[in-house]
Symmetry: none
């Protein structure tokens, strides 16, 4: 089966947003073993969208269209797909009821014309429920081709794909696959399988050096990617059977996890985050955590609480932006602030100790620094950050970093590094499950 | 002039990387006043790249191709462009010398075959030097059409575009414009200018209703977009002179800002965030802010401190994940927690009052809720959030919301809504600068 993605939206043509949907959808198609030769982007224009659809239908079996399902008049996807496929658009009263329910729960005003438009369904289409918004996904089958319509906002598109579209396509491939597998070509089916090994603390060159021999293998392929404070190794295998692709990948992942130079720094796989890895180690050691933040403003706590169940080990986070807050909440002595300044090793350590003492938690991490763009001096420039840790039965530690000039990046790098240092401090009680 | 972007790379079709080049290039074309109706993505395949090129040349005047200029055999862009345009590829000894220089400075090994391939230039092409890599950009003019070839890595593509391509296109547009302006046609030059008006609190249908007459105007166009908790109106004008486009946009933006139904909810323009708008009102009223968060885990503080200079009004954020923290840091009475629960109107109000009292700040906002995926009950389901405000010389207020099932979205919606409620509470002391 050949798939093609069409992204609809004038904002994409104007460069106002990045097309993250195309990447998300392409990755899902590849995982399903659906080949993809082209992607298209087209604006909110009926004629040109129709042309893009006709082109895609002429060369692909499955066309996934993202965007243009909203309630307003420049949302044209449903109408255009029906025009091209010669299908009628029919009202779906049950869907209208569900959309009203979503709006009521959100306490949004119900505009009848908008509900009427969004509850129109192409005849014979399968409705793919939208758990977070008013535009459902739609799956249309016509003339031996399949067209999928998805709402544009990623937070709506992604859950619809994960919950409804992938199972539906798996089912469809299961039905069409028998007899056509084996040969390459566009009819044959081959399976891609990928896993990502996530490494913290080390730079990309060090990680690459440790797996250089594997990077030159053709199947599975091993490719390094850099993220903030992390290096990811994507292991991808292709095979005629899904289990075969999976076992090729698992063998290489296990080999990577055995490498001496990497092992202490591999904190997880796939969607794992460093915050999740911290949670695993805190849970394994039965410790609770207190955080004290200055320049990061709450970002460390936000990252920690992205992990479901964080309340089991995350006690509190004291965001002490003012000096007064540092003293009254964490007991940082005014003399320390006066003598060494709010951005200093002494203040960072006092913050970590104060957070530990005030909370009764088992371990504490504290950050202070200068996010910029102003507030820097020759001695203490923008990007200077101190991170201190206290508790977990080890001596206090403090690290000094320079994280650059960009406020947003300084905050992100500092918060990420605080979690890496916490994870390393919590030691070797965690085994990455492969 | 009509432009079209073709991105070349199998890694894009597999969803392994996000197509940030397309956004970057689209934004530059829009700034130059070059219309764009389509974008394409195609893999490292000669036949399909040729098909994409032919299609683009049939419907556009300028085709910008990114990717496929590397030294390896699957880099086919130059060869394919020459095949489609009927041009020869000729060796350029001066360019070969420059490429050797780049490799020497990088201490990379010089592979003669790679240098020979990368220094081939389509006959008559303008070489656009690459300051950081070995593949130069190329500008080819043939049959009244223009084709630009650029290397795929963004750190190489972007400087070539900024330093060499934009001036070249400006020159080209200047040369082709005289005499041909005025009429629509693809030959004339026109300038695009956009601004975004940002509205909070109201839903997209309500916003659209308030500006329906403007949405039907052809120039400037007004298009609504939905973001989490916000509706954006993009106002775009096209004109023969840049100043003319700008003044058309400004007039429509001013008209939108005058609409009674929208005025109280327009918090900013363009890159403004609701956190920045809160900062403006806090500064205007000379108030400091204390935050108390439970389910959002520090996200409200993080958003507030994304704004440079937040330390002028942001005092502290008490992230009280445990009940013990709620009591010891905010003075929430244990009886209230026992009787009404941590997720209740009573607890939210006690948190806001406690934050105000503990900090001495002028206004406080507090959030408590159930982010999920577990912890919900029939009476208090996942997604239930209470947001309370205290201070700023007004009676305490508390609002109850249902923000859906997705942990990440519940946190985002709750944090955003807390800022919206804070901004509304701080009243009318802010004038959006137009």
């Amino acid at each position: 089966m050949i798939g093609e993605i069409i992204s609809v939206g004038t904002e994409l043509l104007l460069g106002q947003i990045t097309n993250t949907n195309a990447r998300f959808l392409a990755e899902r198609l590849a995982e399903l073993g659906i080949d993809s030769y082209y992607q298209q982007v087209v604006g909110d224009n009926r004629e040109r969208l129709a042309a893009a659809l006709r082109l895609a239908l002429a060369r692909s079996d499955l066309v996934v269209v993202g965007g243009g399902l909203g309630p307003t008049e420049d949302d044209l996807t449903k109408e255009t797909v029906c025009e091209v496929l010669g299908l009628r658009l029919l009202p779906d009263p049950a869907l209208a009821g569900e959309i009203r329910g979503v709006l009521h729960r959100r306490r949004s005003q119900v505009v009848d014309a908008a509900v009427a438009k969004q509850s129109l369904v192409p005849e014979g289409a399968v409705v793919l429920p939208n758990p977070v918004g008013t535009a459902p996904g739609l799956f249309v089958s016509a003339g031996g081709k399949y067209v999928v319509l998805l709402p544009g906002p990623p937070q709506e598109l992604e859950p619809i794909v994960r919950r409804h579209l992938i199972p539906l396509l798996e089912d469809l491939l299961g039905r069409t696959a028998p007899g056509s597998s084996g040969e390459g070509g566009s009819g044959g089916r081959s399976f891609l399988f990928s896993r990502i090994v996530k490494v913290c603390y080390l730079g990309e060159p060090q990680v690459e050096e440790a797996v250089r021999d594997l990077i030159h293998c053709p199947n599975p392929t091993v490719a390094p990617y850099v993220s903030i404070g992390e290096t990811h190794l994507r292991v991808t295998a292709k095979a005629g059977r899904a289990e075969e692709a999976r076992s090729l990948v698992e063998a290489t992942v296990a080999e990577i996890c055995r490498r001496e130079a990497l092992r202490p720094y591999i904190f997880g796989l796939d969607d794992d985050t460093i915050a999740l890895a911290c949670g695993r180690r805190l849970t394994a050691r039965g410790l609770t955590l207190a955080v004290a933040e200055s320049l990061t403003g709450g970002l460390v706590g936000h990252l920690l609480t992205e992990v479901p169940g964080a309340s089991r080990y995350f006690d509190r986070d004291l965001v002490v932006y003012s000096n007064q807050a540092k003293t009254s909440l964490l007991g940082v002595p005014p003399e320390v602030l006066a003598e060494h300044g709010a951005v200093s090793e002494q203040t960072a350590v006092a913050m970590a100790r104060g957070a530990l003492a005030a909370s009764g938690a088992g371990v504490a991490v504290a950050l202070t620094g200068i996010a910029g763009p102003t507030g820097g001096t020759a001695e203490k420039p923008v990007g200077l950050v101190y991170i201190a840790l206290s508790g977990a039965g080890q001596p206090d530690e403090c690290h000094r970093y320079m994280f650059g000039q960009d406020r947003r990046l300084v905050k992100q790098r500092a918060a990420h590094r605080a979690l890496v240092l916490l994870w390393l401090r919590l030691g070797d009680h965690d085994v990455v499950r492969v």
